[in-house]
């Protein structure tokens, strides 16, 4: 490759890296969520901890049967987390406002508008759909579990007990059901209406409306409206969310925004560096070739020079030998002539 060609190619690669459209997962503009996407409003003040949602979730997702029946509410005495066999769990919290009435709170995937799990997944196994759910594709997953580290809500779980086909497991907002026009399993089974399914925009209106109608019942905070850039799952509560073990330190930036700067360099690194390095490699290669050639020529020249020198020396020697010979002959002739003349004189 000529130097000119290489520089041309490198310039083109650089330009495409700068102009090229960047994925949502690594952009730094604020994404407001897909219009008309769905969500669920969880009104914590209405939850009675009956575990119907857990049972329904287990049923619609065909998850393994638990050891303890879903009608047994004694499991609420311990704090639980989502697992690969349970995409949602209800937890019981002490009520600081009224100790007689405990507070129940359901946890599951919050389906962020700009999911942290998707932003860290380098095989794009996670995808935010237009309908709202964040879906996972096990066929491309390499099992690095970055998603589990990235999730600020500690939601994705892993099938550690499967040696060959482990998957990341989490709630899907019942994507297969909602595209058919059905409600998510948990929402359908909730007896008290603590879960309300609908368009996220409508749910925010409803939540605001409930707060304004009963200011003494609710704290003025719709959890999920702005947390981590917004989530499809929204919460209303009568006590600060911190008291229910929900993080209030997340800020309103979506996770990808924190990493956009670093990740936006990835295309350049991935696209440009091979070209650059190949070019550098080619140039070094060519340099070596040229040097080789020059070396060979030098050697040839040297050899020829040596040869010429040798020949000259030879010629000189030959010449000298020739003259010596001649001198010797001359000498001999002379001597013979002298002796002949001497003999003549004497003779």
């Amino acid at each position: 490759m000529s130097r000119r060609k290489f520089l041309g190619l490198a310039g083109a690669a650089g330009a495409s890296a700068l102009i090229g459209s960047s994925a949502h997962s690594a952009s730094n503009k604020h994404f407001e969520g897909y219009p008309n996407s769905f969500g669920v409003l969880h009104d914590i003040t209405l939850c009675v901890g009956c575990r119907s949602c857990e049972a329904a979730c287990n049923r619609v997702n065909e998850l393994p049967q638990p050891d303890v029946s879903f009608s047994d509410v004694s499991v609420l005495e311990q704090k639980r987390r989502t697992s690969s066999d349970a995409f949602t769990v209800v937890n019981k919290h002490a009520n600081l406002k009224n100790s007689k009435v405990p507070i129940f709170n359901k946890i599951q995937c919050n389906h962020c508008l700009e999911p942290a799990c998707a932003s860290v997944c380098f095989v794009k196994a996670f995808k935010k759909t237009e309908q709202g759910p964040v879906l996972y594709d096990p066929s491309v997953c390499v099992g690095c579990r970055y998603c589990m580290v990235a999730c600020p809500f500690d939601i994705p779980t892993y099938e550690y007990d499967k040696a060959f086909t482990p998957r990341v497991r989490k709630c899907t907002l019942c994507y297969p059901r909602i595209i058919e026009g059905l409600l998510p399993g948990c929402v359908e089974s909730c007896p008290t209406g603590a879960l309300k399914f609908g368009k996220r925009d409508d749910l925010i209106k409803i939540a605001r409306d409930r707060i304004s109608k009963k200011p003494e019942k609710y704290i003025e905070h719709i959890y999920g409206e702005h947390e981590m850039g917004g989530t499809s799952w929204l919460y209303l509560s009568g006590v600060p969310f911190k008291q229910l073990g929900m993080r209030e330190d997340l800020g309103i930036k979506p996770a990808p925004e924190y990493t956009a700067g670093a990740l936006s360099g990835v295309p350049i690194v991935v696209g440009l560096w091979p070209v650059l390095l190949t070019g550098i490699y080619a140039m070094t290669k060519r340099k070596e070739k040229v040097a080789d050639l020059e070396k060979k020529e030098c050697v040839k020249e040297a050899i020829e020079k040596e040869k010429a020198d040798a020949n000259a020396k030879l010629a000189k020697a030959m010449e000298k030998a020739e003259t010596d010979k001649k001198t010797a002959i001359d000498k001999a002739v002379k001597k013979a002539l002298e002796e002949a003349s001497k003999a003549k004189v004497e003779g």
Binding site: L46, R59, Q65, S71, V101, E188, P191, T192, G193, G198
Partner: protein, 526 residues
């Protein structure tokens, strides 16, 4: 050479850390006993120097009862610490009547407290601290739990009885020209109207006025061996002891020429309100409240003096309409009436208020009663009385046999069997609650009002609309985005009511409907 450098470097680096530890040991880290376990009703924060600017050291927590008890054992009285003023009353300040100068006040405290503490320990008694940091501590206010005391009607009655209705014993007015206190009959009002939180010029703070007056008076009574009120802090300010203050069985009415029945009306004749004036049963409301200040929050004038139709500065620009209808204010009519809806026996229905249509003409007319023809009454109070007497204060009711005894809900039977509700029993309970007081009786006088507690937005009749007529299936399009589906409506109503009334029953699923074996035995469902 190099090794020496390293050694000295390390020493210098570690010095601040060493100081820090030393400081923690020497200058702090002593846990204050009363900070978390105890809190003090007799705690006073001494900040006598606050009047002279910013305090150099934190205020001092002084336990008054502890000191009086200790002095009593030594046969010492109040004069040990308090001097008498020209009226022969004890000054509530320590060892002085007035603040003189910063240094002098500081010396009064330091010399007297420390000397006494030293004397006490010299004589082998338990004594208080003598070093700066032991008195001047941070965050001492956390250990205060003084319960404020109100002179309620009962306490007032006991005092008037003891002083043979001589109001001037406590009540006075202030004449700014002669700078003297004087008494005017019929002008008595709450102390707090003049005495505010902080001492102003010529005007003691409420706390100072109360302690000067009450404690001195109680002390004199004790000296004269009469029945007397408490002179110790905990006597008034301990929440538990407050419960023990004896109440009068029959509380006499506070007489201040107030009307028995008033007509609340717009005082700006040039602006017609076109609303009927409101008859107000003043006498009854005196019985419902502990103090006059509940309604008369700034002075004992009639409301319309400050709350005019459009609002004036004297009434914080609160208009007459707002002053009577603001829900969040306890001193407004509606605010107070709605607060009563939070009572356990009422909140069951009233927790769903937000969905009720309320501001009907009928609702306004409950107070803005239609006035008899002009000329019927010459006196306003007669008209008020007439209107008040004409009110019906109990609810009408359907005949028992018209009210279904049981209601069976079986529309949604799936996991659980049908639920049965003791309908008539519930209705009768609410009717009894409604008739138990005049307010609810009057506001629920229609026989359908109690029905509307649950059957909201329904026709008023023996056979109300079925719930399922409005509360349909999930995802049904509706103008009201937040309309609950049928299952939510049932559970919201039943559980919501039980929860709010704290009935403690019917909280689990199986309390109202048994599990349906068919469903639960299907292993998929477990």
């Amino acid at each position: 050479m190099k090794a020496k450098h390293i050694k000295w470097g390390a020493i210098f680096a570690l010095l601040p850390i060493a100081f820090l530890f030393y400081g923690m040991i020497v200058f702090g880290g002593q846990k204050y006993e009363g900070s978390t376990q105890n809190c003090f009703t007799d705690g006073i924060l001494i900040n006598g120097l606050a009047a002279f600017g910013k305090l150099e050291r934190p205020e001092v927590l002084f336990l008054h009862d502890k000191h009086t008890d200790a002095l009593e054992k030594k046969n010492k009285d109040c004069l040990t610490c308090h001097v008498k003023d020209k009226n022969n009353n004890l000054s509530i300040k320590f060892k002085r009547i007035e603040n003189v100068s910063k240094d002098e006040v500081m010396d009064i405290y330091h010399l007297n407290c420390i000397n006494c503490h030293n004397e006490m320990s010299a004589s082998g008694d338990k004594s208080g601290p003598v070093t700066c940091g032991e008195c001047h501590r941070d965050k001492v206010e956390e250990s205060l739990c003084r319960a404020p005391i109100e002179i309620d009607k009962s306490l007032h009655g006991r005092h008037s009885k003891a002083y043979e209705n001589k109001c001037e014993t406590c009540h006075h007015e202030y004449n700014p020209e002669t700078k003297k206190l004087f008494y005017e009959k019929g002008k008595e009002s709450s102390c707090r109207y003049c005495h505010k939180d902080k001492t102003e010029e010529n005007r003691m703070s409420m706390s100072m006025a109360a302690h000067t007056q009450c404690v001195n008076c109680h002390k004199k009574n004790i000296e004269e061996q009469k029945t007397a009120g408490p002179i110790k802090c905990s006597g008034c300010h301990d929440a538990k002891k407050q419960q023990l203050i004896s109440k009068l069985d029959t509380i006499p009415r506070l007489e201040r020429k107030q009307p028995d029945a008033a007509l609340i009306k717009n005082n700006s004749p040039e602006l017609a309100t076109r609303m009927n004036f409101v008859p107000f049963d003043h006498k009854a409301h005196e019985e419902y409240n502990d103090t006059c200040r509940v309604c008369h929050h700034e002075s004992l004038n009639e409301c319309t003096k400050c709350h005019t139709l459009l609002g004036i500065k004297e009434g914080s620009n609160v208009s007459l309409e707002s002053s009577m209808h603001t829900k969040k204010e306890k001193s407004s009519c509606i605010g107070c009436h709605e607060a009563k809806q939070k009572d356990k026996q009422c909140i069951g229905c009233h927790t769903f208020d937000s969905s009720r249509k309320k501001s009907s003409e009928d609702y306004c007319a409950k107070c803005h009663m239609s006035v008899p023809a002009q000329g019927t009454f010459t006196e306003e109070k007669d008209m008020s009385n007439f209107l008040l007497i004409s009110r019906k204060l109990t609810t009408d009711s359907y005949n028992a046999e018209e009210i279904p005894e049981k209601v069976v809900m079986k529309d949604l039977v799936d996991k659980y069997e049908q639920a049965e509700m003791p309908h008539r029993k519930i209705v009768e309970y609410f009717e009894k609650s409604i008739n138990s007081n005049k307010l609810s009786g009057y506001f629920h006088k229609d026989k359908n009002t109690v029905c509307n507690g649950c059957h909201h937005n329904s026709t008023s009749s023996v056979k109300p609309t079925r719930c399922g007529n409005c509360h349909g299936k999930p995802l049904a399009e509706s103008e009201n985005l937040d309309k609950p589906v049928l299952m939510t409506a049932y559970h919201g109503l039943c559980i919501g009511c039980h929860k709010e009334m704290e009935l403690g029953k019917a909280t689990g699923c199986a309390d109202c409907h048994k599990e349906r074996k068919k469903w639960w035995n299907n292993s998929v469902n477990r």
